[in-house]
Symmetry: C2
Subunit: 124 residues, 2 copies
DNA sequence: TCCTACCCTGGATAAAGTCCAAGTCCAGTA
DNA sequence: TACTGGACTTGGACTTTATCCAGGGTAGGA
């Protein structure tokens, strides 16, 4: 555990946190000015393979990193401002996929992204 | 309807077709050698805004384009080889999101991506 | 035929992510 | 303390994906 890794882990803390790699880097630099982009990418990659952090692809440009990896959840995204909330649907979407639609795959995971307009953008 | 647009539309035809913009360009060039990347991107963008083609973000690298935009469906992705199939789950995942989890958003759409291993990769 | 509006092209540019060679730091050993 | 090996970090170059822009072409109407 080096100073660099600690800083990255600190940046990724809290609920409804979904930062891009660049945002993580920017916040890490604020705490540790000499940290490099490559280190941030390396550390994020390690956190992902350790299962501590999830990659989220709600936005089609940059990957986002979600520290809330231990409790399964999905995402609700504002189509206008890009705000993201963690949500917990009732029911298990995996069960909604009948065998006839599995094409012989062994299906192990499901990602759900709800899209809509957040109250702020609806008011504006 | 120009020759360039017709070629792009022809490339994007069929079931379970999910090409990246680069793949669309490569196939379009095979039919019309002087077509430029910019035109492919422009045309894809127009097809998307006309609702003829859907953007799919199953892969975190490049966007993919799915011509099967008229019948709602979701995607099943092989984690190893990246193969993509269109699937039609039973039930409506939108209904699984309780009001208490909507944070005041007006939710209008949902994308579901199932992940697993395809029969080919499982055999290998 | 000329004009206008739209379309296409190629190249430059931007954004996001990865790779790599070199340097630094640290723990263990003598 | 001095050395060694290994792991980590750095900065920059590079790749991939996508967009922008200036210039030129083409079709159809006047």
């Amino acid at each position: 555990m080096t100073a660099q890794r600690r800083v990255v882990a600190e940046v990724l803390d809290g609920d409804h946190v979904h930062l891009t790699a660049d945002e993580v880097h920017a916040r890490a630099v604020a705490k540790l000015p000499e940290i490099s982009r490559a280190t941030v990418y390396n550390t994020l990659g390690e956190l992902v393979s350790l299962g501590e952090v999830m990659e989220v692809a709600t936005d089609k440009r940059a990957k986002r990193y979600d520290p809330n990896a231990h409790r399964p959840h999905h995402h609700l995204v504002c189509a206008q401002c890009g705000a993201i909330r963690d949500v917990h649907p009732s029911g298990n979407p995996l069960a909604d996929l009948p065998d006839s639609e599995r094409f012989g795959f062994s299906v192990s995971a499901v990602e759900v992204t709800y899209r809509g307009v957040c109250p702020n953008c609806a008011a504006a």
